[in-house]
């Protein structure tokens, strides 16, 4: 079954992922403009982009363990997953800046004074150089340093998970599950015992 899945994945061109990733926010914007996002379309859009970005971060982190431990190969989609993640983080940020907070002075105060926003913004800044270097030229140019640089996504994922945990009111399970999955995916990478790639 995994072989069949890999065959389907091999046949699926990467641009399909980019297309879906671009159409989805446009579809949400259309819904928001036509009353399809409920009573508070601003928050709906903000939350949707943030949560999708977090899910894509998790998916991106899962590519290597999925290949090593399950045998599912998503490797060729990894860059697209990363780029769309960043795109959604930017949209999440833009919705917050332009539609939600709106007031420039307050945006800066929010970043400095509200820890969950400080952390979210830090996550964005960590992702920024990774997005900029997500092209073949940078990979060639940076060589070994590219791999090291792109390990920063581990930090960004943790920051994103913590951002979600901190922003909810009261004791809520969902953000803890996200953070737990992120931590688990990072633990799988610890070089305690090198598992052979062919194990599955």
């Amino acid at each position: 079954m995994i072989d069949q899945l890999n065959q389907v994945l091999r046949r699926c061109p990467v641009w399909v992922l980019y297309l879906v990733g671009a159409v989805y926010p446009a579809w949400l914007l259309y819904l928001g403009l036509t009353g399809g996002l409920g009573v508070d379309p601003v928050k709906a859009l903000e939350h949707e982009m943030g949560e999708r970005a977090l899910q894509l971060l998790v998916l991106g982190l899962a590519v290597t363990p999925l290949r090593q431990r399950v045998g599912v190969n998503l490797m060729k989609f990894r860059r697209a997953i990363g780029v769309i993640t960043f795109f959604y983080v930017v949209l999440h940020l833009l919705v917050w800046l332009v539609l939600d907070v709106q007031i420039l002075g307050q945006i800066w105060a929010d970043i400095l004074k509200r820890p969950y926003i400080t952390i979210g913004m830090a996550g964005f800044l960590v992702l920024l150089p990774l997005a900029i270097t997500s092209n073949n030229w940078s990979v060639r140019k940076l060589g070994r340093r590219w791999r090291i640089l792109h390990k920063a996504v581990y930090g960004a994922a943790l920051l994103g998970g913590v951002h979600f945990v901190m922003l909810v009111k009261g004791f809520q399970i969902e953000p803890l599950i996200y953070l737990g999955v992120i931590v688990l995916l990072l633990i799988l990478r610890l070089p305690v015992r090198r598992s052979s790639p062919q194990r599955a």
């Binding site: 928001g32 403009l33 009353g35 409920g38 009573v39 508070d40 379309p41 601003v42 928050k43 859009l45 539609l99 939600d100 907070v101 709106q102 007031i103 307050q106 105060a109 929010d110 004074k113 509200r114 820890p115 969950y116 922003l167 909810v168 009111k169 009261g170 004791f171 809520q172 399970i173």
Partner: protein, 267 residues
């Protein structure tokens, strides 16, 4: 006094009520889930008949008061109030209800009482959200006695002339329009007169963020949200923020209650 409350509020000219749809499909009622749409989806299973409210503590006539008996003695009127959530969104709601003071007078408040404590129904079988300890159930709120007796303080039993829907706190809930929405406790089953400041749910969950008073105050910033302005819901994707008014626009009526108090300290 009741008559004075309305023109003062209406004079602001920004009291166009939100639609029934908006008011009843976007709620914070964590006993039915933490999502804004969860209460509208889940609260229909709540049994609100029969319903009684236990009034106890420092009152002359303690006891379980049947909802119908309370209603037969109260005068219901419409009050169009601003509703300001601590999350910095707001609505305007045309409530129907009676003054809490009338209910408390019926129970006979004893002279030593200083505070009023409220409790929401806790019925896990009908409240899926209580499966998680998002807050310590039952939900609790409280007011100082003079706040509770204030003519603006309402026990709401309806919206737009219809019985209040379950997701909005059926069959009766508190409405304190100059405080953040979470003070306006829903589906009340118990009212206790006491001489001590009662514990309140959000204050118990996070003392630093939610004070006992929780008056709407644009000058006191909340650790999560600036309270300087708000998003009035119903304006769509591009509605601009509007400044939050001191005491949510009811300053003239209620500022006197807090004379001499440092509102940054007693937030």
């Amino acid at each position: 006094l009741a008559a004075m409350a309305r023109p003062a509020a209406a004079a602001e000219g920004d009291l166009k009520p939100n639609s029934w749809e908006e008011i009843t499909s976007y709620n914070n009622y964590y006993e039915f889930g933490t999502g804004k749409e969860d209460p509208a989806q889940n609260a229909h299973v709540l049994t609100t008949k029969p319903w009684s409210v236990k009034i106890d503590g420092m009152v002359d006539n303690p006891g379980d008061y049947a909802f119908e008996d309370i209603m037969s003695k109260m005068t219901v009127e419409e009050r169009i109030y601003r509703f300001r959530c601590v999350e910095a969104w707001s609505m305007v709601v045309p409530w129907n209800g009676f003054e809490l003071a009338d209910l408390l007078n019926m129970a006979g408040v004893q002279s030593g009482a200083k505070y009023v404590a409220f409790e929401t129904l806790y019925r896990p079988a009908e409240m899926p959200g209580t499966a998680y300890k998002v807050l310590e159930w039952p939900y609790r709120e409280g007011l100082r006695l003079d706040e509770a007796m204030h003519p603006l303080t309402l026990m709401a039993t309806g919206i737009y002339g219809k019985p209040i829907p379950n997701q909005n706190g059926a069959p009766l809930r508190l409405v304190v329009p100059w405080k953040y929405g979470f003070k306006s406790i829903k589906s009340i089953v118990r009212i206790t007169l006491t001489d001590k400041e009662p514990p309140t749910s959000w204050n118990m969950a996070n003392r630093r963020e939610y004070g006992f008073y929780s008056n709407v105050n644009p000058n006191v910033s909340h650790p999560r949200w600036s309270q300087a302005n708000e998003r009035r819901l119903g304006g769509g994707l591009f509605a601009s923020r509007k400044p939050t008014l001191m005491f949510n626009g009811y300053e003239k009526e209620v500022a006197g209650l807090y004379e001499g108090m440092d509102l940054a300290k007693f937030f």
